[in-house]
């Protein structure tokens, strides 16, 4: 019999990022008992890194803004394969969720008349991002954390969930291990909310933190839920490229929102040369107009640097490929040029972008108020994820909910900057609310001891091999690096059939090798063991991404195929869905988009 401790809650939330905390707060406010499990420490989840802001049509800076414009912007950015209902709920509810943060103590930057200040961001028609300098994620996460800890939520830090426990189709709890001693734990719950964030660690160059290994995607998939839109991975156009050890660290879009420009090695602002048709009417056609836009001129149109991320990233890749890149394989991002426009430019930059200033000074020895940065694309966000009901966030498995980056629907083929933090709040709250309701309407389920035994023996296999000490022991770190390298090369920004087929073969090979990795030493806070356990998630999401990407034979949003460079209108009417078949292999199908009500179609037409 496996040795483990058992905990019981009405609602179990897995993940302490913005989505998880917001869900836990909501569920707990309804009076049910809530447990929050996370594999990091509280307050350290990836959300803490978010920089630019939270998108919400508060209309504090431009009173022409409202939820309809935000809705239309989100759908346009997502190339219309978004779940319309989620996009609608998100646009309608985000303002209330942001104001609520203020009531809980968040201190956003202010407009001159004392309201929450909003900044420009790519793809948003009006200044819409509530922010705090360039550390908005920290402000949001800390506010939720400080509010949540006074609500009686039981927090289990540094516990990693390895499997979801099921009774028939229903999810009735989760099983995992705590790092400090390496002992196992059973969490029984009437409802479970997954809020485990993204998958960036499946790629070599990423802005994502250590915990973004796609665990929630993988847990849900193996439990029988569906994943949708997994081909849509967002490569953020501006990550650091030099020095190598910091390659991938994000350079916020806020730099461009504040007037930063992209140039190639010839000094040319190449984005002016490539403005897609559907954005032409909204985009400046000269540098002066672009500058005026960033300074709040309501009549100016946005500079092409603020086009959607997928497009800017591809333009950068093109410049680099065609030999017009910067010395270390990126392009130049320059904010220092605003010296020509503002007398206090240096102070201004430091005040608006303090962590960027800090980051470059400390890690690359570059003063961004005086010289240009070198930047290139970095794996940033996954639009795809667990398929959920738009209103309740419940997956197809009763009792299993998902919110935040691990859930899918709202972003379609490409996410607009700022729409993630608002997504976490809007759908985190909804998931918490409906999970609490589910827990009131259902009894605690029965945990199957066989399932636990099986997970325990799988989890300990790497140790059994380690203790035998055979020379052929696989090194878990090596397998992880190898996966990250080929996912970057073969399933990255520019994709094609032959390379992705190769990726599938290599994933299959790594699945086999992952069964022979070894962990040495004891179970106490053992990173090799942890890395070995992460492999299952990383391989699962890599496979789901690649299979979905092979299946979408067109280019759209974050998914670009060299062999199908155009959009295919027929494919624009469907989503790609994957799930685990009875035989254990991955299954895939196309599914028509849900029909949008005429009222919303009308809004989209009106805003075109």
């Amino acid at each position: 019999m496996a040795d483990y401790q058992t905990f019981e809650h009405d609602v179990l939330v897995i993940g302490s990022g913005g989505a998880g905390l917001r869900a836990a707060i909501e569920a707990s406010a309804t009076g049910v008992s809530v447990g929050l499990v996370c594999k990091c420490l509280l307050g350290k989840a990836h959300t803490v890194m978010a920089e630019g802001g939270i998108a919400a049509a508060l209309a504090n800076v431009d009173d022409r803004d409202n939820w309809k414009v935000h809705f239309a912007d989100t759908m346009r950015g997502g190339q219309y394969v978004n779940n319309w209902r989620m996009a609608e709920l998100h646009a309608r509810e985000a303002p209330a969720r942001v104001r609520e943060l203020e009531a809980w103590g968040a201190v956003f930057d202010r407009t001159p008349d004392g309201r929450i200040l909003q900044r420009n961001f790519g793809g948003h028609k009006y200044p819409r991002l509530a922010h705090v300098g360039d550390r908005t994620g920290l402000e949001m996460l800390r506010t939720l954390q400080d509010h949540g800890v006074h609500q009686g939520i039981d927090v289990h830090m540094e516990c990693t969930i390895l499997t979801l426990l099921k009774e028939g189709d229903r999810v009735v709890g989760a099983f995992g291990y705590e790092r400090e001693k390496g002992t196992f734990r059973v969490y029984r719950a009437k409802a479970v909310v997954l809020a485990t964030g993204g998958i960036g660690r499946a790629f070599k160059i990423t802005s994502n933190s250590w915990d973004c290994t796609g665990d929630g995607h993988s847990l849900a998939y193996h439990a029988g839920a569906e994943l949708i839109d997994m081909e849509f991975v967002q490569f953020h156009p501006t990550g650091m490229v030099w020095p190598p050890s910091v390659c991938g660290i994000l350079v916020t879009e806020g730099v461009r929102g504040e007037g930063g420009v992209l140039r190639n090695s010839e000094g040319k602002r190449f984005m002016f040369g490539d403005i897609p048709e559907n954005y032409r009417s909204q985009t400046a056609d000269n540098e002066e107009e672009g500058w005026r836009y960033t300074q709040g001129d309501r009549d100016a149109r946005r500079p092409p640097e603020l086009l959607t991320r997928d497009h800017v990233a591809r333009c950068i890749v093109r410049e680099i490929k065609e030999g017009r890149g910067s010395p270390h394989g990126g392009v130049f991002l320059d904010i220092s040029w605003i010296r020509k426009k503002l007398s206090n430019a240096s102070e201004h930059i430091k005040r608006k972008l303090p962590s960027m200033y800090h980051q470059f000074k400390q890690l690359a020895n570059i003063d961004i108020t005086a010289e240009a940065m070198e930047v290139g694309p970095t794996t940033h966000y996954i639009m795809g994820g667990i398929r959920v009901d738009a209103d309740t966030q419940m997956s197809r498995l009763p009792g299993l909910f998902a919110a935040g980056e691990c859930a899918a629907g709202i972003n379609g083929a490409n996410r607009l900057g700022g729409n993630s933090l608002s997504d976490l709040l809007v759908f985190g709250k909804r998931a918490g609310e409906y999970a609490a309701q589910f827990s009131r309407e259902n009894k605690t389920g029965v945990v199957n001891p066989g399932q636990i035994e099986e997970t325990v023996s799988e989890a300990l296999e790497s140790f059994n091999r380690g203790s035998k000490g055979s020379a052929a022991d696989g090194n878990p770190y090596e397998i992880q690096y190898e996966l990250q390298r080929f996912m970057q090369d073969l399933v990255g920004i520019v994709r094609k059939e032959t390379e992705m087929t190769e990726a599938i073969d290599r994933i299959t090979e790594l699945w086999i090798r992952s069964k022979s990795v070894a962990a040495h030493g004891n179970r106490q806070y053992n990173p090799a063991w942890h890395t070995a356990l992460d492999l299952r998630s990383l391989l699962t999401v890599s496979e789901a991404i690649t299979v979905s990407a092979l299946n979408r034979k067109e280019s759209r949003g974050g998914h670009y195929r060299d062999d199908y460079p155009q959009k295919d209108p027929a494919l624009g009417k469907l989503n790609v869905v994957v799930w685990k078949g009875r035989d254990g292999t991955i299954q895939v199908r196309h599914e028509p988009l849900p029909e949008m009500p005429d009222e919303l179609k009308g809004i989209i037409e009106e805003m075109k």
């Binding site: 990091c40 420490l41 509280l42 307050g43 350290k44 989840a45 990836h46 803490v48 890194m49 104001r99 009531a103 809980w104 103590g105 201190v107 930057d109 202010r110 008349d113 004392g114 309201r115 705090v132 300098g133 550390r135 994620g137 920290l138 800390r142 400080d146 509010h147 800890v149 006074h150 927090v155 830090m157 400090e180 933190s209 250590w210 915990d211 030099w242 020095p243 190598p244 050890s245 910091v246 660290i249 994000l250 962590s355 800090h358 980051q359 400390q362 890690l363 690359a364 090194n475 878990p476 770190y477 690096y481 962990a519 040495h520 030493g521 106490q524 806070y525 053992n526 990173p527 090799a528």
Partner: protein
């Protein structure tokens, strides 16, 4: 290729020792990169805690050549590499293993600090008005990434182990962020003086010196709080006026 030696603490609460690892170093590397390299090639079970590798989460705190710092923001260029670089866990907290300490005490402390309690909204739509100059100070405190390096260096915790009577610089920053929040109406000076032990701080400024977010912990948070606590104790009228002007 150039190499450097890292002298890393290995062990748990029962004991341990400093062990040397030599590894390749390249341009721009930070200490955390070196630790990862050693982990993947030489010491797979070397425990260290990290998340963002960008100085934003405050997970990777350690003592590098004796100085409390973030491993992910300490560049090797800035360290003398002709002798071994020592990496040790924080000393103010119980050791779990190798470079990882148990910092849960900090989370318990925070729960004891009364939470934000705003005045009634200024406008009927439920919102408030605050001017930027009035929140600059509070925003400085809210930059804190909870790395607990200031707690690690403070002699009241590190040497005198007053964990039961003193909440430490991090939480004076937190309390100051609440007390100076223009909307807050809660009352915290009583416990700051008593159970939070602000009197133990003798303004050595060691905490300010290690803060990676460059928060002026002593000058901007602790000293004004000390003044406030004294005022409130000896001048109750002034305290009432302050609460009154906050619109309570």
């Amino acid at each position: 290729m150039k190499t450097a030696t890292f002298r890393i603490w290995r062990g748990n609460s029962e004991g341990g020792l400093l062990r040397d690892y030599t590894t390749e170093v390249s341009e721009g590397m930070v200490v955390l990169d070196a630790v990862h390299q050693i982990q993947s090639k030489q010491a797979p079970d070397l425990a260290c805690r990290w998340n963002c590798k960008a100085g934003k989460c405050g997970s990777c705190s350690a003592e590098i050549n004796g100085a409390p710092r973030l491993m992910c923001m300490t560049r090797l260029n800035d360290l003398p590499l002709d002798k071994p670089v020592t990496i040790e866990p924080m000393k103010a907290f119980p050791l779990i293993r190798d470079l990882v300490t148990n910092v849960s005490w900090n989370y318990e402390v925070k729960k004891r600090i009364k939470k934000f309690k705003p005045r009634r909204p200024d406008v009927s739509d439920g919102t408030w008005r605050m001017l930027q100059p009035d929140i600059d100070r509070v925003q400085e405190f809210r930059k804190c990434i909870e790395c607990f390096l200031c707690q690690d260096v403070c002699h009241v915790l590190r040497d005198h182990r007053k964990h039961d009577e003193f909440i430490g610089p991090r939480f004076f920053v937190h309390a100051a962020g609440l007390e100076m929040h223009p909307l807050d109406t809660e009352e915290r000076s009583q416990e700051l003086r008593t159970s939070f032990g602000i009197g133990y701080c003798n303004i050595t400024k060691c905490c300010t010196n290690v803060c990676p977010e460059e928060i002026k912990i002593t000058d901007n948070a602790i000293i004004p709080l000390k003044e406030r606590v004294v005022d409130d104790a000896y001048d109750p009228i002034r305290k009432l006026i302050r609460r009154f002007t906050n619109g309570d």
